[in-house]
């Protein structure tokens, strides 16, 4: 399944998040991540949503979200044509020096930062486009991931 990024400008009313997520639930659309953030206008918020599906599902999602009374603007964003970043923290099990070196090496390639190193684990921070984060997680997948947190995407058209 493809991943798509949507940027939705909504009225900043109470219940608007429930309305959007209820719509996704009801129609069986898959949300990968959803972030709500402030804009320069306190009356509106921006939702950045990563959805999974095919082109047909995407078309339906955009149309159904557009129908919500509180949705002001819905647009699809592409990583390469927008500013679009996500923050990742991942805690990787690494009890010996060899593992730690190898994790540091990979982190360097992806411009990730080691924010903590303890006797049995390393915590890495990475701010990147979602596809690069996916790729990074793929590369380290043979390690034991003890904990992980992705912020969800923040995106804006260039």
């Amino acid at each position: 399944m493809q991943k798509y990024i949507l940027s939705v400008i909504v009225k900043n009313n109470s219940g608007v998040l429930a309305r959007v997520s209820s719509l996704f639930g009801r129609r069986g659309f898959n949300i990968d991540s959803l972030t709500v953030s402030a804009t320069s206008d306190p009356k509106v918020s921006r939702m950045s949503i990563i959805v999974q599906g095919d082109e047909k599902t995407l078309e339906q999602i955009i149309k159904q979200v557009s129908k919500l009374e509180e949705a002001i603007w819905v647009e699809q964003l592409w990583e390469e044509e927008s500013y679009c970043k996500e923050l990742l923290f991942v805690k990787i099990q690494a009890s010996d020096a060899a593992d730690k070196d190898s994790i540091r090496e990979i982190a360097e390639v992806y411009n990730a930062v080691v924010v903590q190193s303890s006797s049995d684990s390393i915590i890495v921070e990475l701010t990147e486009v979602p596809s690069r984060i996916d790729a990074f997680l793929n590369v380290i997948s043979h390690f034991h991931i003890m904990d992980m947190c992705r912020s969800g995407v923040t995106a804006m058209m260039k």
Partner: protein, 555 residues
């Protein structure tokens, strides 16, 4: 002028042209009911037996008039009892404003007595909903609710008002209701593009639905059909849009529609879909639906395009605007061979039920009703076999004269809706066609039509079983009649008597004619006619769920 929230509510309803609301009182709406008492000469409140009845009545009122129906309930169970009626209206795109009281602002979120989060509950079954916690927002929120309910594709809107808002005072300033008509930008090149496809088609067919009824575009549809000689298949939601004796109208299409009507879509090389949504009761197998056809989809709701069926072309517009504007671009045409082919399907494939006057055959009962009530009577149904018989044989020729729960398929819809329709159209006869299963769900509303002297005639197609489910069990579940034979002993004559209505029982067609005539002569109270139907009567033809019309069952 300064007034309290409840009086503001009444004033805004009057502003919006509301003359009747349906509801049930309770703690959280006491202030509102006080305002309704004071204003009882200006606005009529109809008290139902149950809030579900009130929501269906508001729906029936809306369907019978095209105006927005209004229902009112108290917090908690009052509000949740509206839910089925709201969902019914949502699925059939019926304009409705549902007003609920809630507990006072300070009690919200504390699991207070009779508190529910009705805005959350109704989120997926309303076009939009509001919670009003400040009296200064009340009037404009209500106006906005009416605007949303009526604009574009209609639907229900719920407004939840905390009790303190209904008591708080605020300045009321009257406003004119907004013009909610939407004008669509008609592009000549778009009309030409669609018309070219229509003009080139060898075997074109129109598939039309409730959208044509909503926009009252029957005349415009017929003009297009006649000019280009295109046959049309209608959904159940479109019943009444075209006259049943119109030769180019092929009748109802779908699971229990006419086989010839389904075949016309199946074999067409072009389908012009107008105000219909390719529901699973029509496109029973979307992968095998109309395999040879290019599909042009016209709908007021952009989200319907490519939702259930991938289309080749589309126009987002209301049916009337589209049909009016496409006509000059469409060539006069003849499709003699194609129509001849359809005529042969009609003769060879269409189901013809056999008459038998010694018992009660559903199609004959419906035939007698259609003969005796004339064109102006409104038929309201519940859901199940009787609903399909009514759809097939009640011969409605006008819009807003066949009221039925299509999308949600709500058993128990009929009686409340009939009350709403009768309140809306006091000079028209309202006939409620039901089954013994559906009727048992909401027959408590009989007390309402007795209280208000509404001469609604209920015809119970009584086969003593839950017929539609039983029919599926007969055909697809090895006759395992699980929970469909309740062995009820309800005596409908006594039941009617107990409520203060007239009750009749009949077993053959002559008896039915006689009692129906009597019921038609009654003008001050409701009647119930219990019709003994054989429990093995089936609704035919039938396209099994998930199959194509080519797999139709006729015996």
């Amino acid at each position: 002028m300064k007034m309290n929230g409840s009086q503001i509510l009444v004033e805004v309803l009057l502003e919006q042209g509301v003359d009747t609301i349906f509801g049930y009182p309770g703690g959280a709406v006491l202030n509102i009911y006080d305002a309704l008492y004071i204003n009882r000469d200006r606005i009529r409140h109809v008290l139902t037996a149950h809030e579900q009845g009130a929501s269906h009545a508001a729906d029936g009122y809306a369907r019978a008039t095209g105006k927005t129906g209004v229902c009112l309930a108290t917090s908690g169970p009052g509000a949740t009892n509206l839910v089925t009626g709201i969902a019914t209206a949502y699925m059939d795109s019926i304009p409705m404003v549902a007003i609920t009281g809630n507990v006072g602002s300070t009690l919200i979120g504390k699991d207070s007595f009779q508190e529910v989060y009705i805005a959350g509950i109704t989120m997926p079954i309303t076009k939009h909903n509001f919670t009003v916690r400040r009296v200064d927002e009340l009037a404009d929120t209500l106006r906005e609710a009416f605007r949303i309910a009526q604009t574009g594709r209609p639907g229900p809107v719920l407004v939840d008002i905390t009790k303190d808002v209904t008591a708080a005072e605020y300045e009321y300033t009257p406003k004119q209701p907004l013009d909610t008509s939407v004008t669509f930008d008609v592009k000549p090149e778009e009309m030409q593009r669609v018309a070219d496809k229509i003009n080139e088609a060898k075997c074109p067919a129109i598939y039309f639905g409730g959208g044509v009824q909503t926009s009252d575009a029957g005349k415009e549809l017929l003009a297009l059909m006649k000019k280009a000689e295109i046959p049309a298949s209608g959904t159940m939601m479109a019943i009444g849009t075209l006259p049943v004796d119109e030769p180019l109208y092929l009748g109802m299409v779908g699971m229990h529609g006419k086989v010839s009507s389904g075949f016309a879509l199946d074999k067409a090389d072009l389908i012009l879909a107008i105000g219909a949504r390719f529901s699973d009761r029509v496109a029973t197998d979307p992968d095998r639906f109309a395999p040879n056809a290019k599909i042009i989809h016209v709908d007021i709701d952009a989200a319907e395009i490519n939702k259930n069926m991938q289309t080749d072309d589309s126009v987002v517009m209301d049916a009337k605007t589209f049909l009016t504007n496409i006509l000059p671009y469409v060539n006069e045409n003849k499709h003699t061979e194609w129509l001849e082919q359809i005529k042969q399907w009609k003769e060879k494939l269409d189901y013809r039920p056999k008459d038998d006057d010694s018992v009660l055959k559903p199609h004959q009962v419906m035939g007698v009703i259609a003969d005796m009530i004339g064109e102006d009577a409104i038929i309201v149904t519940d859901v199940g076999q009787h609903q399909m018989w009514a759809a097939q044989y009640s011969r409605r020729n006008k819009i807003r004269h066949f009221l039925t729960s299509g999308g949600l398929g709500t058993m128990g819809y009929g009686y409340g809706a009939a009350i709403g329709a009768k309140m809306a159209q006091p000079n028209k006869r309202v006939i409620h066609i039901t089954g013994d299963g559906s009727f048992h769900m909401n027959l408590n509303e009989l007390c309402t039509s007795v209280s208000y002297n509404l001469p609604i005639i209920t015809v119970v197609m009584n086969n003593r079983v839950l017929g539609m489910v039983r029919q599926w069990q007969t055909m697809f579940y090895n006759k395992h009649y699980s929970a469909t034979d309740p062995e009820r002993k309800t005596d409908y004559v006594k039941l009617a008597d107990a409520f203060g209505a007239d009750g009749y029982h009949c077993e053959n067609l002559d008896e039915f004619k006689a009692v129906f005539k009597k019921a038609m002569e009654t003008t001050d109270k409701p009647s119930i006619i219990d019709c003994a139907i054989d429990k093995d009567e089936r609704v035919l033809p039938m396209v099994p769920a998930g199959k194509s019309v080519r797999d139709f069952v006729i015996d």
